[in-house]
Point group: C2
Chain length 283, copies 2
């Protein structure tokens, strides 16, 4: 168990009968080694991730619209480490084939449109790996917790999300949805750090403290959204994330698994290698 | 000289009197150490690049439109290593604050618009670092070499580029333009490799061989475009790039220099740290 495997990561799947109280944010399921051992596990997928992403990118270039793409949707409470997780996983990729975007408070223009309007602008292109730092799920989380919309509207949105994700999947987008699950105590530590370090001030917002009062409501909203939107083509994983390195390792393992399943060969030569070699030599 | 400094990188500046024949693509100006020493130099800026980029991103978040941004324009002949250079420099950054895009053969829709139309869509946002793999310069390089447009049109485009870049600079975009300069022999080796390795086939295009016939014309077009568009706010650097690791190290050094000159402090707290700490503790 000082080895963390892809099979361990896959056990973090949260399906239709998911209970968020079953997940201990301080735990590290599948791994009970020490810090140094975790550091090793954290890097072991890097070369394969790089290779798999390049194959995907190459297929996008060679096969255009028929090539698949990947969408990683990351959710989690404030300070759960979404940005850092994306950074660590995506630093193994070629930035030319990836795209990362965040969804904060909607702008006035965005509020005039359906909640999926601003999301659809960022649909992955063939061969691309896209990460969403927060997403359309905010529209059934923060908005539900604060009762900014009624439950009928939540039902409508959940249905719209299911349709949207099914539509993406039908177009060849492989979706993976991940909640980085931290404890309320860990968030407290992280928020305090943001008031102590000059290089963290910019991340702190006094309203984060008010949001903490709604913790249990958020957990209920997450649980319900996860149960109702988990699907074979858009699975949810809930990663215990008080241990950041564990969370990032698990995310890498899930990405490797997803990319392996694309089963991508290198695009074949559409030229005769020998003839071309001669032409180049004579040029 | 086993140490490569920022001052060495800055000497690669190509200004109004630039002669491309003065640059030996096989050379490594400012560095004459061995492979292991170069490997060390290659990594030495990484931590600082990470820190500087995070400051820039934080300023974008905190100050919105008044925050600067960065645009790296990379040009070079086929196989000059533009993609790899971007990958290695940008892997030190947080992908959330960066954006990379390439400009290939224009689509039919793009051809119906002015040549800058497709470029302007990718203007950097405040706090962002953007890389262009090829750019609007293709419109005064490949198009000039093949005489697809006449010289009057080239003059018009050069002027349009100068205006466009000045306009970006006035909006707070810090521009850096880099040509990765390889030799014709090195390109030959690289092209042959693409016909020999299954994982490289997708990068090979038989028309690359035809383009090689126009090498001297390309060099003339590069020289002229560089001379006429170099500016204090949009400087050109020409990096000898037969040695890939040298080229990437030089590019990192230039990026460090640019980011340092932004002289970015962490955004100050817009809250009272002590009060907030108490609120968090009691929450």
């Amino acid at each position: 168990m000082a080895e963390f495997t892809i099979a361990d990561a896959l056990k973090l799947r949260a399906g239709k009968n998911f209970h968020i109280s079953d997940v201990d944010p301080t735990s590290t399921p599948g791994f009970d080694g020490d810090k140094d051992e975790l550091k090793k596990e954290f890097s072991k997928f890097d070369d394969e991730l790089y290779d798999l992403q390049e194959r995907l990118f190459a297929n996008g270039r060679a096969h255009g619209d028929s090539a698949p793409s990947v969408l990683l949707i990351l959710q989690g409470m404030d300070t759960s480490g979404k940005g850092g997780a994306i950074r660590h996983v995506f630093s193994t990729f070629d930035p030319q084939g990836t795209y990362t975007t965040g969804f904060g408070k909607p702008t006035e223009e965005e509020l005039e449109h359906d909640f999926l309007w601003r999301i659809r602008k960022h649909d992955p292109q063939p061969g691309q790996i896209v990460a969403f730092d927060r997403s359309h799920y905010e529209d059934v989380l923060i908005q539900r917790v604060h009762e900014w919309v009624d439950e009928d509207e939540i039902d409508r949105r959940i249905e719209a999300i299911r349709e949207y994700e099914a539509e993406l999947a039908a177009k060849g987008v492989r979706i993976i949805k991940v909640m980085l699950h931290i404890s309320q105590d860990f968030q407290k530590e992280n928020l305090i750090e943001r008031t102590e370090r000059e290089d963290k001030f910019w991340k702190y917002d006094p309203s984060d403290v008010e949001e903490r009062q709604y913790w249990d409501d958020y957990m209920r909203a997450y649980e319900d959204a996860i149960r109702r939107t988990d699907a074979f083509h858009a699975p949810w994983y809930v990663i215990p994330s008080d241990n950041k390195r564990y969370a990032r390792t698990a995310l890498k393992a899930l990405m490797v698994d997803l990319l392996r399943h694309l089963d991508l060969a290198w695009p074949p030569a559409d030229f005769d290698p020998e003839t071309e070699r001669e032409r180049i030599k004579n040029s």
